[in-house]
């Protein structure tokens, strides 16, 4: 079989041509959301905190495309800033949990034996706490701030990532090519970096997408409960909570952020499913 030299751009072009319309829609939506998050101050028509009218829950009009919220602020502007906060917090949390979880998971798999046993059992103990309850206790006792939020959620996520990364790496560690490297006299670090990591990148990338979605949902849930992002800052979860009464007056204000959360989560899931199916990579059974 003759395969042309694979280049980065070539692979990207091929991937784009493989997109189905539904997946393409989700990808476009996600890219738009990230674009909005990055350039929020330039895109948002008003300052997110500016009170523009005395009227609560005013219906959409020419000045305020999505109307006003309970304090008379522009819903569209707050939505744009909310997406920025939600996505950036989730991204930081997921990145942190991945660096620590994958690192520790690979370490456990590479050393095996007693090291692996202890690391895995401690991790199992952590996993046995319901994540929401753990988050509530920690945040309640330390007080909510961005730093506390990020580190608590990253820690909780790390335990999940650890399991997946370890399970993936354990499967690779028993392959003959790893044994070949061991006979050669390679160190653990080299083996993990050059033999294990390249073979786990695709499933880990997919896992990253799934974890990212969970982080969005988790942080939104906490904000909704009043323990996440604190006013005057706001994210999508805070907006759902603030504007709940709108439903009593027959206005949709609270639904915009709610749909925002839902669409981002769904799009991410569809994209990840497509990615997994395309590469035929499977996540290990025990997650």
């Amino acid at each position: 079989m003759i395969v042309e030299n694979r280049t980065w751009t070539g692979e990207l072009r091929e991937a784009v041509s493989d997109l189905t319309p539904g997946v393409a829609l989700c990808v476009v939506f996600l890219i738009t959301m990230f674009f909005v998050a990055m350039f929020a101050p330039w895109i948002a028509p008003y300052n997110e905190a500016a009170i523009l009218t005395n009227e609560s829950f005013s219906p959409p009009n020419a000045e305020m495309w999505l109307g006003s919220d309970y304090l008379g602020r522009d819903v569209l502007s707050r939505l744009i800033y909310g997406v920025r906060v939600t996505l950036s917090l989730s991204l930081i949390i997921t990145l942190l949990s991945f660096f620590s979880g994958v690192g520790l998971g690979f370490l456990a798999a590479a050393f095996g034996g007693r090291t692996d046993m202890w690391m895995s059992r401690i991790n199992d103990a952590m996993l046995s706490f319901p994540s929401l309850m753990l988050a509530l206790i920690v945040i309640n006792s330390l007080g909510s701030s961005f730093v506390v939020l990020v580190f608590t959620l990253a820690f909780i996520d790390m335990t999940r990532v650890f399991r997946v990364a370890r399970a993936l790496a354990v499967n690779i560690m028993v392959m003959d090519y790893v044994e070949a490297a061991v006979v050669r006299g390679e160190g653990k670090g080299w083996i993990v970096w050059h033999e294990v990591l390249p073979n786990t990148l695709t499933p880990l990338a997919a896992e990253f997408g799934i974890r990212f979605t969970y982080a969005i949902l988790f942080i939104s849930a906490l904000s909704f409960l009043g323990l996440g992002v604190q006013p005057p800052q706001s994210d999508l979860g805070v907006m759902v909570k603030e504007n709940m009464q709108a439903l009593l007056y027959g206005e949709y204000t609270t639904l915009y952020p709610a749909f925002g959360i839902a669409f981002i989560a769904i799009s991410m899931n569809v994209f990840v499913d497509w990615l997994l199916q395309r590469s035929n990579a499977k996540l290990p059974d025990e997650i």
Binding site: M1, I2, V3, N5, M175, D176, Y177, E179, A180, V182, V183, R184, G185, E186, H194, E195, P198, N199
Partner: protein, 551 residues
């Protein structure tokens, strides 16, 4: 001649590429099978032999399509049947024995339940009748304790027995056509002939027509009445077994004959090596095992010496400890007692305690090149790493040397920028060897490196090994279950059984009668290219097994 049971005419099977262009993987195949007769489909992997046999059941693997031709089974047009009709046909009239019985049995059900499942489910037989028939089949297949073996679970019987039980499963509904797809390839050589003999008897006794799929011409000579030689989906030669093996017409058939696993007519005594110089490698009185305290003994009192420039064959069946010995020498596991010496210096037990130079001198070539090469590393990286690691070359120096190395193992230099999955099996095995060579070793431990390859490709790899030995003065420890191969390439031989070396010495000493009973059993299991060999071999085998068990 009576009317043939199976008539296959102009069978084409195609796959479609991304642009929808068809590509024929089976091209215009026609053959007949009479009741009670066996036709062998023979060819290397990718020749379409399994695809044809599946096509006879009206089945294609996902992505393949039967694009032309007819399959007539006793008046029924198999390819025109609807799916429910086909399913009925497949369980009842056509049955299939797969290569790996271990993978085809459900470990959680008794053997009886699985053997009788199809006729009971389809209502063809009552459970009692089916069980009685099964017991008769166990008896015909010469399984031990035929009345009770069915009550066991699959893990409680041996691999050879399981393969025969699978034949019982296939025969229970009294099929008119039996398809055997490499049914003995996964078995040990000494078990293989028993299984082969019982298949042969079963087919003759029941007047069943059979299609036998294999890559091994010497095996086929024992069971088949007709042989169809395939290459790239096309028929190369078709004739009776006697015709094909005594007077092959086509060059490809001749090449297959030449590469068959046969014992050489004469075993030449190796040149006598001077024993005064220090041997390259010495294994002294080693005992080793698995488990936390090495309580499961895999090697007992092993002594082995390898001189520079010499090939030592280590033969044994699965579980004999031959691979464990290779792993021990390379430092992947430690010994309980005894020691390993390189150039007279004692080696540390584990890889981590050995010096880089000691590691460099002993390289290990793995059996399965497809899992021994990282699929995400280009060949350039795979091959340059040992050069950089052991010899301190820079990446650019190593890249230049990779080109030379690829030439040395007869691969194009531009392969350096390919990934292993883009290579064929034989090419990957060459890369596997090249990686060992990249370290400039003194000794390469070859663990069954030809057993997963087609016979012709395996022969090419063996030729390459000999060329390299002549050029570089390498030593090989050649681990294999194939006594025919080893007798051609080794100077010294060690025969292993149950973790012990039972016979050892120069190749002519070990293999010329009178030899150890177990060596004799292995020799007796190598098929000879004549049609009456099997019956004699089975008789001889029983005597030898009885003698071995007596000891």
């Amino acid at each position: 001649m009576s009317e043939p049971l199976l008539k296959v005419r102009n069978l084409d099977v195609s796959v479609y590429d991304k642009k929808g262009k068809p590509f024929k993987i089976v091209d215009g195949i026609s053959f007949d099978v009479q009741p009670g007769e066996v036709i062998a489909l023979i060819g290397e992997s990718g020749s379409g032999k399994t695809t044809i046999s599946l096509g006879c059941m009206g089945y294609t693997r996902p992505g393949c399509h039967i694009t032309n031709g007819t399959v007539d089974l006793g008046g029924t047009q198999v390819l025109d049947q609807s799916l429910p009709k086909l399913q009925e046909l497949r369980g009842k009239d056509i049955t299939y024995v797969a290569q790996s019985a271990a993978a085809s049995f459900n470990g959680a059900m008794t053997i009886d339940a699985q053997v009788t499942e199809i006729p009971v489910i389809t209502g063809a037989m009552s459970r009692e009748d089916a069980l009685a028939k099964a017991a008769r089949l166990y008896n015909d297949l010469e399984l031990p304790d035929p009345d009770n073996i069915g009550k066991r679970y699959p893990h409680q019987v041996s691999g050879g027995q399981l393969q025969r039980l699978m034949a019982a499963m296939a025969m229970i509904s009294g099929p008119r056509l039996l398809i055997l797809d490499e049914p003995t390839t996964a078995l040990d050589v000494t078990t293989q002939i028993e299984v082969l003999a019982s298949f042969k008897k079963l087919i003759k006794d029941n007047d069943t027509a059979a299609i036998y799929v294999t890559h091994d011409l010497s095996l086929v000579a024992q069971v088949a009445d007709h042989i169809l030689v395939l290459k790239d989906g096309q028929m190369v030669e078709y004739g009776t077994t006697d015709q094909i093996i005594s007077d092959p017409q086509h060059d490809y058939t001749k090449a297959l004959m030449a590469a068959a696993h046969l014992m050489p007519d004469e075993i030449h005594a190796p040149p006598i090596t001077t024993t005064e110089e220090t041997p390259l490698l010495q294994v002294k009185n080693v005992t080793a095992g698995y488990g936390a305290k090495q309580e499961i003994i895999a090697l007992r009192d092993i002594d082995l010496t390898i001189h520079a420039g010499e090939t030592v064959g280590v033969i044994g069946e699965s579980g004999s400890g031959k691979t464990t010995l290779g792993r021990l020498i390379s430092g992947l596991m430690g010994a309980k007692n005894g020691s390993v010496h390189l150039n007279g210096q004692q080696l540390a037990q584990s890889v981590g305690q050995r010096s880089r130079d000691e590691l460099r001198q002993i390289q290990f070539a793995f059996q399965m090149a497809d899992v021994a090469l990282n699929p995400r590393q280009k060949l350039n990286k795979i091959l340059s790493r040992p050069m950089m690691f052991y010899r301190g070359l820079s990446q650019s120096e190593a890249t230049k040397e990779v080109a030379r190395l690829l030439e040395r193992v007869d691969l194009p230099t531009e392969f350096a920028w390919r990934f292993p999955p883009e290579l064929s099996g034989g090419q990957r095995q060459r890369v596997n060897l090249a990686r060992a060579l990249a370290a400039e070793p003194k000794l390469i431990i070859c663990d069954e490196i030809t057993s997963a390859l087609d016979t012709i490709v395996a022969q090419q790899i063996l030729d390459l090994l000999e060329d390299l030995q002549d050029e570089l003065g390498l030593s090989y420890m050649f681990i294999t279950h194939d006594i025919a191969t080893v007798s051609k390439i080794s100077e010294q031989i060690a025969v292993m059984r149950h973790g012990r070396i039972v016979a050892q010495g120069s190749v002519d000493q070990v293999l010329t009668p009178p030899c150890h009973d177990y060596t004799q059993l292995l020799l007796n299991s190598v098929p000879e290219m004549r049609t009456d060999w099997l019956d004699e071999a089975v008789v001889e085998r029983r005597k030898l097994v009885a003698a071995l068990d007596g000891n």
